[in-house]
């Protein structure tokens, strides 16, 4: 299958990229792993592709105090294999390792994935649990939004025309925290039917801090604050977890497709939440 023709540009600075992207029919090529298949099917037909791989400042992973800053063009493979990420934010490395397959992870980027906002993408569960923030740049300046504000709906983000994701920031994981990302894989596409990320910090045998993110259940990933509240202050044993996850999908309009009905997805969200929490609790020191 063959894409429509387009112009291809490789800007060497952000300014140049912005200028190219001021054309409403231009589209960013970050890793291309979602965009190119869409273009091959002609569901996407941008007139200009702006390949960001030559733009300085969009790559690299660096530690700044208690914050890990990940450039938008960092690939999933770089994240899963980076010793720095594995040590300081293991949940992000785990999420990256769960995406697609090796070839996709070699090319796909975190910025591209976020801007695409696929409702079943893997990152959002972890990024919600991490309360990540997304730095956005435009010709008029920069702004930083929380992941919750960034992901608006299915395929819909807070990005305005002409804006670019330049960086994702996550906190360095607390000492002794336990984390886990558990995913029910759709066997054909490898996307998540549901995926749940958990971060747990224990203190004196009790859960002092819990963060839970959910992807795939509905049109937009979310943070399950209700579950977090019910977990905090418990010892995190099976019955605590069971009680906490029971309402994870309350009020959520669950997706329904040939791969899983809404009711089954709701059930899987509970099961995988419990699995993620159990794993995180067991890893927490």
């Amino acid at each position: 299958m063959i894409p429509q023709n387009f112009d291809y540009a490789t800007p060497e600075s952000l300014e140049e990229a912005f200028r190219l992207l001021s054309d409403p029919n231009a589209k960013v090529l970050a890793g291309g792993q979602s965009l190119i298949p869409m273009m091959r099917l002609r569901l996407a037909a941008p007139e200009t592709l702006v390949d960001l791989r030559g733009v300085p400042g969009l790559g690299g992973i660096r530690l700044e105090g208690r914050t890990l800053r990940v450039g938008a063009m960092v690939t999933h493979y770089e994240l899963e294999s980076s010793p720095l990420v594995r040590k300081s934010c293991p949940l992000l490395a785990e999420a990256a390792a769960n995406i697609g397959d090796v070839q996709v992870r070699n090319c796909g980027t975190i910025g591209g994935s976020l801007a695409h906002a696929d409702p079943a993408a893997d990152y959002p569960a972890s990024l919600h649990a991490l309360e990540a923030s997304v730095r956005i740049a435009s010709p008029s300046g920069e702004r930083t939004v929380s992941i919750a504000d960034f992901l608006v709906d299915t395929f819909t983000t807070a990005l305005e025309p002409g804006e670019l994701v330049v960086e994702v920031s996550v906190p360095v994981e607390a000492e002794g925290a336990g984390v886990s990302y558990q995913k029910c894989v759709q066997p054909a596409s490898g996307f998540a039917i549901v995926g749940v990320a958990a971060r747990i910090v224990k203190k004196d045998g009790e859960i002092a801090f819990a963060r839970i993110g959910v992807t795939g259940l509905s049109g937009n990933a979310f943070r399950a604050t209700g579950v977090e509240k019910l977990l905090e202050g418990t010892r995190g044993d099976a019955s605590d977890i069971g009680r906490a996850v029971a309402g994870i999908g309350d009020g959520v309009d669950a997706n329904n497709d040939i791969h899983a009905s809404a009711a089954y997805r709701q059930h899987l969200a509970r099961v995988y939440a419990a699995r993620a929490i159990v794993a995180a609790v067991s890893r927490a020191k």
Partner: protein, 146 residues
């Protein structure tokens, strides 16, 4: 595939019912609708441009309102065809008073054919629902300001 859901509108059922059948409101609120021209009683010709992240497509189609049951229910049939395939939504909308507003429940079928159907069935439900939500959000916005 079957699709169902509901939205609450801050208007009484009478007003909600009339708004939902008002071609100007429909034209303004249906996502991507660029033109809506009446071609017969209860039938309109529509041009729309759908943009969804990377996906975009032009559609020519029709909107038809059928089986009207004033202020309580009607059937809405939306169909469009374009180079990337076709879509057809056929659903019944049922209106019921809820507090001071109206709960609009919809239930129906969405069919997608052509290349669009190739990208993944997993996206049809969630994008349909998002489009419907956008429609109702816009409706509240438009009617609220009207």
């Amino acid at each position: 595939m079957k699709i169902a859901g509901s939205h609450t509108l801050p208007f009484a059922p009478e007003r909600a019912y009339n708004l939902l059948q008002d071609p100007q409101i429909l034209a303004a609120c249906m996502p991507g609708c660029e033109q809506l021209v009446k071609i017969a009683e209860d039938t309109y010709q529509m041009k729309m441009k759908m943009v969804l992240a990377a996906i975009s497509g032009q559609f020519d189609g029709k909107v038809r309102i059928a089986d009207p049951n004033p202020h309580t229910s009607f059937r809405l049939i939306v169909e469009g065809t374009g180079k990337i395939g076709f879509m057809k939504g056929d659903g019944r909308l049922t209106l019921a008073p809820k507090d001071t507003g109206t709960e609009v429940a919809y239930e129906g079928d969405v069919q997608v054919g052509g290349t669009m159907a190739a990208v993944g069935q997993r996206l049809i439900d969630t994008t349909s629902k998002m489009m419907i939500k956008r429609f109702f959000d816009k409706l509240c916005e438009k009617a609220g300001s009207a």
